[in-house]
């Protein structure tokens, strides 16, 4: 809400006049959205039309000090997952965040992101490494790991066998260096 306020003041429009149509628009959207989503995303699965906008491979390497970066096969996981919410804890998850915490706040982007399922970068909420991280928030590395372990722990590749970390996702730096030589 605070951010939307600053948006409006930037445009130089009075707050109240803007707020009423915005509220009406939101109500209309709230009524229409369930049917809209049901139409475009049957069974909560990403519709084929979104695929072109999705990353196929994501390199997760911003945190690697002892390990090689992870080449994450996003497209492969999209095929396996029952919906975006399996990994992105934003839609259809146990702890949904407020809509406005993720979606951009100007109207066109809001509409676009609802339809296309745009996600904010994980790092915008989950902070990177720091000497003393805030215990109330989950850091970036832990957020990634928890997302992976949600499934991979139960299939016995990680946790049951700690070696799985290096075999499945990221090789240790020295091992990788030796292999390259």
């Amino acid at each position: 809400m605070r951010e939307s306020g600053s948006n409006h003041s930037r445009k130089g429009e009075p707050e109240m006049r803007k707020a009423i149509p915005l509220a009406i628009a939101f109500l209309v959207w709230a009524c229409a959205a369930p049917s809209l989503l049901a139409e475009t995303r049957p069974g909560n699965a990403p519709a084929p039309s979104f695929r072109g906008e999705m990353p196929t491979t994501v390199t997760l390497g911003g945190l690697s000090d002892r390990y090689e970066p992870v080449e994450f096969d996003h497209a492969g996981h999209v095929d396996m997952a029952s919906g975006c919410g399996d990994c992105h804890h934003q839609h259809g998850t146990e702890q949904p965040l407020g809509c406005r915490e993720c979606h951009s706040l100007d109207r066109s982007a809001f509409r676009r992101s609802v339809n296309v399922g745009t996600f904010r970068a994980c790092g915008e909420c989950h902070a990177g490494p720091s000497p003393r991280p805030d215990p109330a928030r989950t850091g970036l590395a832990a957020a990634y790991h928890r997302a992976c372990f949600g499934c991979h722990r139960e299939v016995g590749s990680v946790g049951e066998d700690p070696k799985g970390c290096t075999e499945m996702c990221h090789a240790k730096k020295e091992t990788a260096r030796a292999a390259r030589k």
Partner: protein
């Protein structure tokens, strides 16, 4: 203690009079003697209660830190064990840190491993075992420190309980006193006694960092922070996910509270946490008795000596 010291000169006065001149022997009458002893006795009682009162008032360092361990998040990767080993310069283990065979038995911290992770099968969730990290819990009122006869243990304002090997003479009372079996003994050197245990990486914490194990945890199953904040976080997690957690923060009240706090999805006794511990600090169990020992040692000889002096004087008069 203070009062009894103040009273002592008054008690001595008649004695000095007696030493001053032999003629004034009756100066120390039985009445004076009894008066002095009663005064000393009541001072002892008052002194004891004053001490106990002051002790109760101190509810711990306000900004003390701790670690919140969430057993539901731990995946048993043993990164914490490896990080602890590196940070403390401990010897290389016989079994490497990525080996899971160690989970076949329940381990305890040793002189070469300040922390260990144990695995527990969960009958309610087969295939998803629970992992419990074991190390010193850094009690608010440490039993080890109260048992140590040479004060080799210190509770720091940051929360860690530290051990000073220069003071230790190897009695190992601390190992008996600890309800969590945390201190281990280094049996390697017979001449230099050394108890070893987790230091909650006190140096790193003082420098503004977090313990090495916390830093290494890939899923943040262990989180470092102010103990007060961690309790709030733990309460929020239990409130938001009552299906996921047992409604108890282990370590919030056990033995007067510990710096390490735990959340679990299975009852704590199932993962080998001692659940029969009192909420009062262990220090309180023995404090009354132990604080009376020096007083008894001082007062009984004084009482008997004065009784002897009084009766001898009477015999002399006859």
């Amino acid at each position: 203690m203070v009062k009894s010291r103040e009273r002592r000169p008054a008690g001595k006065d008649p004695g000095e009079g007696r030493g001053g001149s032999r003629e004034e022997k009756p100066g120390i009458s039985r009445r004076d003697c009894l008066k002095a002893l009663t005064a000393a006795g009541s001072a002892t009682l008052i002194g004891g209660s004053v001490d106990a009162h002051a002790y109760k008032k101190f509810s711990g360092w306000p900004d003390r830190c701790g670690v919140l361990a969430d057993l539901t998040e731990c995946v048993g990767c043993r990164s914490c064990e490896a990080a602890c080993n590196r940070a403390n310069g401990l010897p290389k283990p016989d079994v490497p840190f990525d080996e899971k065979s160690v989970f076949e038995e329940k381990r305890r911290p040793t002189a070469s491993a300040y922390t260990v992770v144990n695995r527990y099968e969960d009958p309610e969730k087969p295939g998803t075992p629970l992992y419990r990290k074991v190390q010193c819990n850094h009690c608010n009122e440490p039993g080890c420190a109260s048992a140590c006869p040479v004060r080799a243990y210190t509770k720091t304002p940051e929360g860690a309980v530290l051990y000073n090997k220069d003071l230790c003479f190897g009695c190992r009372y601390c190992m008996v006193a600890c309800p969590f079996y945390a201190p281990a003994y280094d049996y390697e050197s017979a001449l230099e006694p050394r108890v070893v245990k987790c230091t909650m990486c006190h140096g790193r914490v003082k420098a503004g960092g977090v313990p090495a194990c916390v830093e290494a945890c890939p899923v943040e199953a262990i989180k470092f922070g102010k103990r007060k904040e961690l309790i709030k976080i733990a309460e929020t997690r239990i409130r938001n996910r009552p299906d996921r957690y047992v409604d108890h923060i282990y370590g919030e009240h056990e033995v007067g509270g510990t710096s390490w706090l735990y959340l679990s999805r299975a009852p704590f006794e199932r993962v080998d946490f001692p659940t029969n511990l009192p909420e009062k600090p262990l220090v309180e169990q023995t404090k009354g008795f132990l604080s009376s020992v020096p007083l008894v040692l001082v007062l009984w000889p004084a009482f008997l000596g004065m009784a002897y002096a009084a009766t001898r004087n009477k015999e002399d008069d006859k």
